[in-house]
Amino acid sequence: MSLNTRLLTPPREEEEIYPYRRVWRSLIIENGTVAAAAVALFVAFGFLGLRLPTVALLPVNLLLAALPAALWLVFSWLPEARVPEPRAYLMRVFALSLLVASAFALPLIENVLRPETWLSLESAVNRIIGYTVTVGIVQETLKYLVLRYALPPEALRIRLDGVAYGAAIAVGFTTLFALDYVSRHPDAAPDAVIMRVLALLAMHLGGSLIMGYGVAETRLGEATLILLPVTLLVAAALHGVAIPLRSGLMNAQLSLDGGITRPLLALGFALVLLAAPQVVMSFFYRAAERRAEDVVRGQE
């Protein structure tokens, strides 16, 4: 098949059977569950003072780190088998993103870039720029490379495939970084772990949705040359803004009564960060779809 043999199937809408897994629905379920878990643990540990025995911390934290991956498996990957047109490369992309994050992203960030050693004393603007052009660009470029090279061109059939594969990559990166965090802080409080997981998921999902949009639009639409680089920069900037802003919101205020952190602000920020890119990107995806429909109608 080639692009010249593009088939347009215009069944009557009332009879149409949607052949793909509904991506947004899965995302809402998965992210909603993680968000609910974060809120629940925050209340239980932060407000109600629940404490776990030390021996239970590591297993619980590992479970929390793996929660996005588990939810993705249940609500995204398994349902693919039950639809007429499954996305065959989901598991491959997920696994590859884990490997890429482990082999490149993590070592690059923690051993080479080490932003914490030179950015922590900088101004807010410099921190945003610094994180964008280092941590952000590295991670989003790697995600782009996975999308670009792990998927055969025919794997992107509809624009929402970009969302589905982007989400798989985001979950892979989130899982790897969450596991790394737990391995370095096995005795961290579960509420801190789930908040870290939530923030990671929000950042990576937001970035992946933007990157997925750029790749899908480049592949399927009539995108300009600069759309893809721009989406890469925007996705990187999302990390650049999110990392300093989240920690800045949470950072302690010092007085002679001691330092008081503001985890509630950090939680609220993570929830907004999780929801906002999805809302915005769903608008972009729909707009793109509408543009494509208009083009088809014009051709008809």
Partner: protein, 198 residues
């Protein structure tokens, strides 16, 4: 809702390929900029001028500067966890007969009294810029928390003294860092030496 599906698009258009290429170029450029930003931030320096001692130096930004009778100045990286990486510059009077090696021996004898586990690792020539020759004395010792009320764990420190004699005085430029990060930190000292004017 209409479903717009693309089947069998095994190849990319030229525009798509160009977009991908441009993306990679942009990524590379931004990353290079990031690395450059990192390097320039890490290597940011602050000038120090001491007219009386005839010394101009550039020390790392955000390092704590202090002066004392024992040395002309000292800078420490107070944001570093554990042992605070230190660069120190001191001057000592010398006679016509004093050599860099004499100064090195005197330093070793003095420090052996005050530093736990002090041991000289090597004494070797060290070329400075502008043709100055110097002695480099590398040594190690154990640094311990000084407050008696805290539970400090001793840290193994590696030090490097660059000793040169100029205009009738010995200049001792000292670098000390945690043994675990010594090599990683050494370039900063080399950068300091490169910019030092005396």
């Amino acid at each position: 809702m209409r479903l717009i599906e693309v089947r069998g698009a095994a190849t990319e258009t030229r525009r798509q390929r160009q977009a991908h290429a441009l993306t990679l170029i942009v990524a590379a450029v931004v990353l290079l900029y990031g690395l450059n930003l990192r390097q320039s931030t890490l290597e940011a320096v602050v000038p120090y001028v001491n007219i009386q001692a005839g010394i101009t130096a550039f020390y790392p930004q955000n390092w704590l500067l202090d002066t004392a009778p024992d040395y002309v100045f000292r800078v420490r990286d107070m944001t570093r966890r554990g042992y605070k990486t230190t660069i120190q510059l001191s001057v000592q009077p010398v006679s016509d007969d004093t050599s860099g090696r004499n100064i090195a021996d005197r330093l070793a004898l003095t420090r052996a009294r005050t530093f736990t586990g002090y041991s000289v690792l090597a004494v070797e020539p060290y070329p400075l810029r502008d043709g100055f020759s110097a002695q480099a004395v590398s040594y190690t010792y154990v640094s311990q928390e000084s407050s008696p009320f805290l539970q400090g764990i001793p840290v193994v420190v590696v030090g490097l003294d660059i000793i040169t004699i100029s205009r009738g005085q010995a200049l001792v430029i000292t670098f000390r860092a945690d043994a675990a990060t010594y090599r990683q930190e050494l370039p900063r000292f080399e950068q300091f030496l490169q910019a030092l004017e005396f």
